[in-house]
Symmetry: D2
């Protein structure tokens, strides 16, 4: 693996690295850690890389690695840069035969996502998008339960992703993570909806297997001076007639990383909270609520396949992230052997990326318009 | 107190009665428990009333009691009938000099609420509306905290009231509570929004002191054959620029009585759940979440005034309900002495009733229209 | 009902009164609220009693009421005085034909309890002891589940009752509740074990149906100057071979009223917390934990019979207390008709009182001795 | 690092490996995965080791590696075998100049622990014991808070470690983890107290900085046919006069891995649950309970130094384990440079191992004797 981004001071680069290492199937062999060659070089030791595999730019990395012998060169790139710097390295890597795993949202704009989809399809290479939260065992279990029909037809979906770290204008007081997210040139048309709202939308579609067909949104920049949203709520309609609400915020003061989903069907409901990820609440019409737990009792094959330790030994965010990497690595291995990915070891890909960008475009359109419902049709494609 | 409604089989009549009794300030002296004089008579013993004070109709009760000597006749009526039977008895009671405490929503229609407001203002009598949840000590505390400014300016309000008991068409299999709620002739223009949504809207306005100015709603009748909504979600805008979401449902299978509110300001947030009503979560930007508890530590005067037992001895729904009755009784006592109600012992009244009916009218209008935002202005008044 | 104790400033008197009123089956007709006739008289209005039924002493009350006509005189006395003042009024009331409901621990000493048992048996009157916590619906459910065998043979019982209000020497700074509890002349041989430990022991025996046979205790007075324990832990052995731990404390700073029990059998376990009394956790060997809830789904007849409102409308301490009163009142009614108490409406009585006093005597003996195990045999009787 | 134990089917071997890898500071270079050379060889690929570094025995590994050039040979061994196989490889490794990280309890017997301590002291090498739970950030925070004096003098300590997986005689139906733990020849004098009780005792001493001075224990083998305990409870006395209870069980049916500690001082209390490890409850005499959270707000330097991701991204068991490995690796690095370990990056060592073995010996002695208190003095040393 070669890392693009993740230079000194980056949080998410280190997380990708730990996630990649955890299962001893992936090795970091090179990196282009910053667009600034100096910073890139300085970051090498943080990743225990020797100088010759630390590159001044991703283009240099892709070109140089391509010419290394097969057993030696990187197999894939991992892209952990701001949104505006996803598309170019992804396309260049794919065009040069490297698989790609990329942070979300997949691109800067819907158009880029449409173009990237073409490249992925043309090259036939593996593309993964780190919607981390789909990697949790209890999310796999939730998806399995909905699919099994135990809840009956799904009617109502409440998904929320609330944080509080942007309650104050920290982007103007040195917080780099905040600065690029609030910069339209780096983040795109949205801050909060792109940063966390797309995770929430993805989770809702992933667990239910349903598709959002219409949105009605109200986005806000509460902190004066912001050009992009720091909060938003969206009424949702799904393809089977289900209704829902998605609310995402980064000004919910005191909230840490409160991604939570509740899904109700005719016969039962479920609830999952990312901050206590090893419990899955199952609610029934006329019998006690049950709490399914990672590693405990009889769970689905999918949940078991994404669990590392016995029940009661909490698995967390890094493990969920590692599940995405492990599954991506598995797909890459299978690709080498000419095999399709194993559906048991699934991961989000370019289609999920495209859905996310479409969602973003439509909620921004809805929020600024006076029409009640905006269709989630991709008229650009 | 004279009870109107609450005949054999009624749940809410018994609750009103227990709430009225708890503090030994109110005595049930008569009742017209049903529009069916037979049923009314049969219900008397359930309330330990002797026959002569059990009436065949509320009209008979009001007329007869009016002619009793002062120390003997009822002071007020408590109305616990379906929505369609609130206005007439309330007006008749007020017109004959009796104070009124009434279940919510206040009337069948907005127009009735407007008319009732006139009667209340003209008679100068005490009118209470049993938005029970405002009676909890920790709701009083939450209101106090917002008012104190500790959270800073309020930005985001998430309020939800989810139940599951109408997931199946129980109104067609003998559930009387469901039957009248789903009957437009008895319930009015809404089932779920009227039954629980108005509680949620009232709670949001009560705690924050803000006013909802615009709504954008999506109501649904998920169970086939229903004429009224069994679910709905509403985007909210408040008079200070705050935004919010209200979601109310009676088809969230497995939910009991999940009224919950979260309020976020610039400097902090709070969260209260009716099903664990003695805890109030206080969330802060840079220090640990706190859990304020009924009866524990230093709470507001308002919280203390609505608490009966020491910390750790849970107070529940009946106690909250009894707080409404106790405060109403206090206002009635003060009225007799020519005094204004004590603001410390507040309770919802005709204004809150009117807000609720306006809210109902506007969310139904919004849900059926294609306009994005509907103003909460009362153009009928 | 005639109240003995509960004068101005008393907390528990008011609670008994609310509990008695709630179900409209009991009326307070007289009281001897204090050993000080002045205080007793002043307390009358707090209970809305007219002067002629407020007595200067319990002896006067019992004598005077006895001579009133049958329909007018009190049916029973409720004793809410400190421990040293339970035995005399209880015996006097019983001897004069009045039933008795009494706060716990039942008497000042084991010997008194043995003597009182004799009086109860001789008079054949109804005697209730307010181990309030057995009145909760989910405690009834827990007892039912153990009895049904669903957990298999019981092996391990962990019961704890932790409070923090005696962490500081508040008995020396004006706290009357603390003062009598820490006074050996009023409380007896123990403060904390008597005040809360007996509740815990009673709860364990009540739910499991087992009997404690041996104890090994370590009691402590952590706050300097105290003559009685403010903390204690006890290893327990039960008659079926089960083992357990009881820990009770009033110096667990920050704890409110944390009574909690966990019971484990071969096939499952259960957990109940008084501070969230409407949930009962059921734990199983190989399937998800379940949360049984007051009023929800299919519960035992016993749980249903002690529930007032639908699921999700929290019932609390006063309701549990009222269940004891309601059941006692029911037994008194049946007694009048020459019938036995209905086992469905059970309540703790003199036997439970005796067990509590025995437990107290044995844990104090164990704590001060060097023998490992002390038998719970009642060699005094 | 060279792994001793962890062959095919082992759970804990894989956990050690993941923990070692996570921070990219440790590389597995060799292993002796089983006493059966065949099994050892077969296990190599599971760890992605090439054949030449997979050894038939730990003795062979230590000898061979010792002769490899400095940059190539392992720096330390990690011992993950049953208790009876800790001492020999640990001593051999140390004697040959290799540092050791070892699973707990440190040895088979107290005598072995005493002997091992000598070897550690003589060689001056680094020895770590994987009491994993001390690696959690919130445990570090708890220790810091106690040390800071914010809770006042500590009075009461309740620690429990309950599991349910040995409720049935699974050791006789093929569960290898159960089989060796229940075999006195492999586990030593105790199953449950050794397996989980020592963790609990260690946690109590670690967080409080206090020393257990006396124990009074009741151990049980509930499942017929067992030679070693599957459950036990212990009254504790600490060197500052604090009292406590330790309860450990593997027959608490339905419990997963419920390690929990509560500590009460004069001024406040704290509570930590391993199954929700990122929350630390802080309880105060007269203000709301606080919930300190991993990564959130202002925490101690120690907590921050053991945190990898921002607040709300749950860290779990593997991360806690990795903290032990990371700190051990840090100490090894510093040792190479002739420096002392950094106290900020602390980890349990031979002293903690010795305390654990002493605790085991004394609780077993106490449980089988009739003396009430057994001193925790190490008369063998």
């Amino acid at each position: 693996m070669g890392l693009i981004g993740g230079g000194t001071g980056s949080f998410i680069g280190k997380v990708h690295h730990m996630a990649a290492l955890l299962d001893n199937r992936i090795e970091l062999v090179c990196g282009a850690f910053s667009h600034d060659p100096e910073v890139s070089k300085q970051s090498g030791p943080e990743y225990r890389l020797s100088d010759e595999r630390v590159y001044g730019s991703y283009a240099e990395m892709i070109q140089t690695e391509k010419n290394l012998p097969a057993g030696q060169r990187m197999d894939f790139v991992s892209i952990v840069t701001p949104n505006s710097l996803h598309f170019d390295p992804a396309r260049l890597a794919l065009s040069n035969g490297f698989h790609v795993i990329c942070d979300k949202p997949v691109t800067f704009s819907l158009q880029e996502a449409i173009d990237l989809e073409k490249t992925v399809l043309q090259t036939g290479l593996i593309f993964a998008l780190t919607h981390t939260y789909t990697g949790y065992p209890m999310v796999k279990e939730a998806r399995h339960i909905v699919k099994s029909g135990r809840l009956g037809a799904i009617r109502k979906i409440l998904v929320e992703y609330n944080q509080g770290w942007l309650s104050m204008p920290v982007e103007r007081t040195g917080n780099k993570q905040a600065a690029w997210r609030m910069d339209p040139l780096k983040a795109g048309i949205s801050c909060t909806m792109g940063d966390v709202g797309t995770h929430a939308a993805n989770l809702a579609e992933y667990i239910t297997g349903l598709t959002i067909t219409q949105v009605c949104a109200d986005l806000t920049a509460f902190v004066p001076g912001r050009q992009l949203d720091d909060d938003g709520s969206v009424l949702l309609r799904f393809d089977n007639g289900a209704k829902g609400v998605l609310t995402a915020s980064q000004i919910c003061t005191g909230e840490e990383n409160a991604l939570k989903i509740r899904i109700y069907g005719e016969k039962g409901g479920l609830e999952w909270n990312q901050m206590e990820p090893n419990s899955l609440l199952l609610k029934w019409a006329d019998r006690p609520m049950e709490i399914a737990r990672t590693g405990a009792g009889k769970l689905s094959e999918a949940a078991v396949a994404h669990t590392r330790v016995p029940a009661g030994h909490p698995e967390g965010y890094i493990e969920a992230f590692a599940n995405i990497y492990r599954n991506f690595a598995d797909a890459v291995s299978r690709w080498k052997n000419g095999r399709q990915p194993d559906p048991l070891y699934d991961f989000p890909g370019i289609q999920e990326g495209l859905r996310g960008m479409l969602f973003l475009e439509k909620v921004v359109e809805s929020s600024s318009g006076s029409k009640k419902w905006v269709d989630m049709s991709n008229d650009k494609r």
